[in-house]
Symmetry: C3
Amino acid sequence: MGKLLKVLFHVNEVEKWDTALGNITNLIKDVGQGGAEIKVVANGPSVAAFSDSSRLQAMSALADEGAVFLACRNSLKKMCSGVDVCLTEEALPPFIKVVPAGITEIVRSQSEGFAYVKP
Amino acid sequence: MGKLLKVLFHVNEVEKWDTALGNITNLIKDVGQGGAEIKVVANGPSVAAFSDSSRLQAMSALADEGAVFLACRNSLKKMCSGVDVCLTEEALPPFIKVVPAGITEIVRSQSEGFAYVKP
Amino acid sequence: MGKLLKVLFHVNEVEKWDTALGNITNLIKDVGQGGAEIKVVANGPSVAAFSDSSRLQAMSALADEGAVFLACRNSLKKMCSGVDVCLTEEALPPFIKVVPAGITEIVRSQSEGFAYVKP
């Protein structure tokens, strides 16, 4: 069956979550759970979706199938400096991990052989 | 002249086709026909463009120059579950091939050395 | 600290410059100046931003920290065939270099180990 696929999904706009989660669902359905190592890096305004319970539920289901969700600390802080939503790291569900800079994760992962997908 | 370039264009929105086709045209003009192995993977709502005759004509011309057009079966099915356009696989012109899951093609191609471009 | 990171940012819409410049700022802050080799390729309508003095100032500051800005000649020419803005290559600030086809630069760079980011 060839080598394990590795892929990073880059989500930086709130409106792109549905497409991203749909892509991941289709990928797992196609290659089977464990058939691909999947990371999702959220930076920019997309991190606001981590306060949306219906989206969190969909993410959590994919995390249960092995997808790793990573939130950019810079973006969480920037959101909290605005007027709308503020999510502290402590308020995030346990399946979402925080990385210091999402952009570094995106670049470093590719240097480690992850494919890049921008939904 | 170095190794053959390999590139996959990911088109997932109808509005991005013009940019994508322009990019591919410029690439072939720059590196010469045969100077790059070119795949175009259409998933999501972008597959609706396969019912647009003027766009199909532009794609067909690029296919004649070696570009390979791949449509996501999941996306074709999803489109047919909606109210607007429905394209059966049989209705697609012969130069468009169907893959079971566009997202897998996108990930696997990168693991095989294809560059990724999101127009 | 591992190998030097190499990354290409692809900017093809004017509205994406702020995100792109923010990403690059965060990346340099995170990995340190010299911690990553950074290219920015502008093609399509995004090249119009090269006539915007406040954006040029932000780009110039990042160029001082090592980021390389590349403009697509095809896109500059296309802009000049339109009615709005026309920027000749000579009018560009010295820190912006022109490449014959941005799309080729994007593909070739990935074949040379650059990660790809689409802000």
